[in-house]
Amino acid sequence: MDPTYLQFWEKQNAFIKNVIWPVSIGSCIILIGLAAIFVYTFWKQHYLLWRLGKEEDCSDRISERLKTFVSVAFGHARFWRGGKEGYPAIMHFLIFWGTLLVFLGKGIRLFSLLTGLSVPTQSTYLLASALSEIGGGLIIVGAAMAVLRRFVTKPSRLDSKPDDHLKYAWVFVILVTGYLIKGYRLVLAGGSLPPDVFSWAPISSMVSQFILVLPSERLNELLVWHRVLIHAIPAIAFFGYIVVSRSSLEHIYLSALNIFYRSLKPKGAIRPIPNFEEAETYGVTEIKEFTWKQLLDLEACTRCGRCQDNCPAHLSEKPLNPKKVIQDLKAHLLTKGGTLLPAEPQPESEPTPLLGEVIPEDTLWSCTACLSCYEQCPVFISGFDKLIDIRRSSVLMESRFPAELKEVFRGMERKSNPWGVEKGERADWAKTLGVKTLAENPDAEWLYFPGCFKGFDDRNKKVAVAVVKILQKMGISFGVLGPEEGCCGDPARRMGNEYLYSMLVGKNIETFEKYKVRRVLTTCPHCYNNLKNEYPQFGGDFEVVHQTEFLKDLLDQKRMKLHGGSSLTVTYHDSCYLGRYNQIYEPQREILRAIPGVTLKEMERSHDRSFCCGGGGGRMWMEEHQGKRINEMRVDQALALEPNVIATACPYCLTMLEDGLKTRGKDDSVKVYDIAELLEKSMV
């Protein structure tokens, strides 16, 4: 070996043995102590708080959980979707993977002397050095992007606390002092640097060019000691800070846990109230009535604000911000939770009700249950399930709900529809079409379940007629329940009236069993979601298909012949209950593309980022006193594309969008159609 390099590496080994190793061993001892403190604080600050909550089994399907964990935590799968979150996704990806590389490199180098890896020619040591250097570089780039975003461009969804200033400054200090150590070591070796130095120390070798050295070797070694300590002390303290404080850095482990323990039930399926008949309380009145997983949700939130960026209530200036809901509940959990622990007896005090004290009433009733908050959250936190639980308590325990809902509940209870129209009128729309009921045709293959809108709303009756005409043309064997059909219960459940919901579900399941229904075709996504994902909680066991899937299948089978009409520019509005709830996005679009003359244009907010029409979560029957009207905002988004037709596949959306067009004075030039209507018109 070249004697200059031999001298260089001997010097490096000397520094590693004399300075870096003692500091590293000391750091490891402290880290072991910190790990013990972490276990204690985790138990005390988190685990005990979660134990306050009710049971929820999240231990099923471990392999699926691990798979999701790897793709979401390591691959950032929930960050990249849609390409709208590219900047923060790249930013966090760089910081995350940079950190992993730094730890990998440090780990290998820490054990290098034990395993003989520090021999200069050992390529593993050099690779470890390169990993650390590159990892550090990635963190600096990612953190610089984060700082630029948080403190310069300042998107409205980010709120900054002192901790946010600190963590970036701290990481920068640790990395810079780390590069200075290696830079110093390189330059103190004397002579020229090895020619391959840039490949294993790309940043430190550049830093070494600017470092001044002391005249004596002893003083220089002393300075290396200084530099190592100036790096090691803040680095160790950083871990201590993560362990002891309640900083946002807790997300490193809390968000990871939340990803692993995410609900694997159908998206947005609301939890039933166990032992409804015997339960003494319903829903959530105080914080400890959430489940442990819901409490973990609160702690796992990092205030990234993606939820508020797509929340129709927040964007329409209603008093609901999903991030604030979670943060307010979290703050309440942290302050109130400790006093509820059995290990820390406190003077008897009245339980703090969440409604009114933590969550204002207007906030509670502003949610449209569109599931956007959950869908946008990178770590699967849902705000809406907590609001539904509080609604349950408000409705069932206190009979406290917006006045408009009184008639709606009464209508559903007495006439099995939200408008309180006589049951006998439910199937009037089908009289002239020769549609048989299951009572008349018990051998029908399909139960067509049009839902309340199709049964009682004049505009939506036309959609049911179109669907029936298609089914008849295709020779599908189907029947309806007619007056025996009841409301699926979706609005009642999402408005918190679980009692009414369970009653409606019970009646419908009884009717289904009476006619031995096995296959159900729905036109309403709310009915579809309920029958498919929530009825099984009550023993409902049947195949449920939405008309869009059904019609798409018919198209695929080449059983339909479509003719060209006038050319139409169509934009499709995704229903929350088909899209975000059930991930049905493409059949509707494929049907539209198959219709001759249709040019499909996508709104900016589409697919999983679609903007709610404003009618879900019972909002269809509530007054919209505050802020802008959600349906008008959605209509404006559609009108920006200058379409002839706004297509949808949901009666709620159809009604809300038509209303929006009317108030915008565009109902003459732009029409709202259900996909079934467009398809039926184009059929030969």
Binding site: L166, A169, V173, T177, F210, P234, S245, S247
Partner: protein, 69 residues
């Protein structure tokens, strides 16, 4: 050049001190000290920080390596 190097070193050292002190303050508040003590904590850490910065400036001015001729 030496003066610039000293300024950079002082900035790095004060960065370290800022991080440690700020973390101490936030942790103290997190573990249960009431926010009414925050003002006192800020002042105490501020004074110690000022003393440390004076020390770093003096120390580096005295001992930082001279530029080679």
């Amino acid at each position: 050049m030496r003066a610039i190097a000293i300024v950079i070193e002082v900035l790095i050292l004060m960065g370290v001190i800022y991080c440690l002190f700020m973390a101490a303050r936030l942790t103290i508040l997190d573990v249960g000290f009431r926010t009414k003590y925050d003002r006192f904590i800020r002042w105490a850490l501020g004074i110690v920080g000022a003393v440390l910065s004076a020390f770093f400036v003096a120390h580096l001015t005295l001992f930082y390596p001279k530029l080679l001729p």
